[in-house]
């Protein structure tokens, strides 16, 4: 395992995996440039008009921004809460850590469509409307188990003595976190944030009931669109999202030095 991957078999395997994961996406990207009126369709001519068509629909741009905002906020809330909880579970001995951990990851178990509807009913009971803050909160607890799992995995590899060392040298808890714990956990934290962002961004069932005209998310708008139209504009939209995601990843890596791995 210490040798660098040079074997052809290994590279071929990875290439196959990538092909499998990317196949439908490559297909979509190709279709996005297709000068045909329906999707999917045999390739006819190259065109950019479906990308231009997106600009004609401000509802998509608004929804995309809402989705990004929602996903970022939900991921931040989820990761902060998860970090605090995972830390508490790791640092102190509890009678039944598994039980607490299971409770904290229990949102995994509730079907999202039911969660959405139940949240709607709860909001009505409490006299609240459906607003952005509520949407963020619901998304946050939906993604929290995934973030929590990743961060807990990270803590399980962490040596308690490192923290104690930091504290015995006079560092306060916050400082220890900043200079010892968080750097060691960085890969897990970044991965957790990405997980949470991704899951929130693409989520449909949870948002279906909780959006109102000013908080429509991209998946709900796309879902509504393909009920009556199935043209390459959806493919163009997906392509734009991939492009933006790739760009953001590169930007994060180059400028903010936030990388997924060490």
């Amino acid at each position: 395992m210490s040798a660098r991957l040079s074997s052809l078999a290994g590279l071929l395997y990875l290439a196959t995996i990538y092909l499998f994961v990317m196949a439908p996406i490559l297909f979509i990207v190709v279709m996005a440039f297709n000068d045909a009126t329906s999707f999917p369709a045999p390739l006819e001519a190259f065109t950019l008009r479906w990308f231009a068509a997106i600009l004609d629909q401000p509802v998509f741009l608004d929804a995309a921004w809402t989705s990004v905002l929602l996903a970022v906020l939900a991921a931040i809330v989820a990761c902060c809460a998860s970090f605090l909880s995972a830390y508490a579970l790791w640092r102190w001995t509890w009678r039944s850590p598994d039980a607490i951990a299971t409770f904290l990851t229990s949102p995994l178990l509730v079907p999202q469509i039911v969660m959405g509807l139940a949240m709607l009913q709860l909001a009505e009971l409490l006299g609240l409307g459906t607003n952005f803050a509520g949407l963020v909160a619901v998304h946050a607890i939906y993604v929290m188990p995934f973030g929590l799992r990743l961060i807990m995995t990270g803590f399980s590899h962490l040596d308690l003595s490192l923290e104690e060392a930091g504290q015995s040298l006079g560092a306060g808890r916050l400082q220890t976190w900043r200079e010892v714990t968080l750097p060691l956990l960085r890969p897990n934290l970044v991965a957790a944030f990405c997980f949470c962002f991704m899951l929130s961004f693409v989520n449909l069932p949870l948002s279906m009931f909780l959006t109102n005209p000013s908080t429509a998310t991209l998946p709900t708008v796309m879902f509504a669109y393909i009920e009556s139209r199935i043209d390459p504009m959806i493919a163009a939209l997906a392509t734009v999202i991939i492009g933006l995601a790739a760009f953001t990843t590169l930007a994060l890596e180059k400028w903010l030095k936030i990388r997924l791995v060490g």
Binding site: A41, L69, L120, N212, F223, I226, S228, L256
Partner: protein
Amino acid sequence: MNFTRRDTLKTLGLISAAYGLTLPGQSRRAAAAGQPVLTVSTWGGVTEEGIRKFVQPEFEKLTGATLAFDIGGQGARYNKLLAQRANPPADVFFSTDEAVVSGLKAGILTPATRQNLGNLVDIEDWALTVKSGVGEGQVAGAPFTLISYVLGYNPSAVDPTPTSWANMWDPAYAGKLAFVAPTHSQMPAFVILAAELAGGSVDNVEPGFAKLAELRPAKLSVFWTDWAPLAKTNDVTLAAEFDYYLDAMKDQKYEIDYVLPKEGGIGVPEYVSIVEGTDNRELAEAFLNLMMDPRVQGAFAAATYQGPTNRKTEIPPELAARCACGPRIENLRFFDPEIFAANRPLWTERMNLEVVPQWGTR
């Protein structure tokens, strides 16, 4: 690194929060400007676009108010109304006639006053299918369009051309048929149609379930987009579908054409109605009236092939051949939405338990 992670996140978080409080959104902007807003609960795609293009400018000119849209499938939007009675998320609601019946019964929709809907007198009689739940001088809502459910087929793949709903049972179409899913709005119609084909009637639908179990669909659809890719690859050659979707498919160069079966296509008026508890009743009624305006209906028909309900609407002959209007209406059968609404839960259950398992892995 000591700086980067937490502080970047913090900054991002602050920026996002700040922006979050100033979310873009027409209703917010409008509300901030003091302009009244009418929230329209409707389907996305062609319907929403049609309203934005043909109705919104007129509406804003007429009332000085603007529109906000809550889009989604009918089921999700209906549930939102059910769950938010005290604070309805919309002022007007687009739906099938059956949903208007259910909505009035459930108390989430409210009738409109006839007097305030000037265009109502020009609405064809066949469009006013919702008669219950309304008092004197009231109307359930505004039927603003007529669409019909017909038999679509691939002309180069089928021979002879189908002529009847009974053709769906032909062995030639086994495994090549796109049929309604149990959740489709027209499922009850097919229960009745199948019953009649099997010797039953609307009052005796028992033979209908057994008859439906004999079908061999390739795909169960709720929207045309569920089976359209399969039509492209000839995995589906016969489909029960709405006429205006089939016309759109023709425009998009699908190999498709359609007929009205000899038993009659299914006539489906679509309604816009007023949500119970709305604060904008006057605006809502103005909107309903505008949806029944002949010019609006003409524009809608030209853009989406959905037929008009106002008899004063002018439809050029080429368009008339492609939508549910004019002579086609004589070949349409209108079902009583009360029967649909009353029986849907039980029939959906029976479809799931008795019929769909017989349809095998499709």
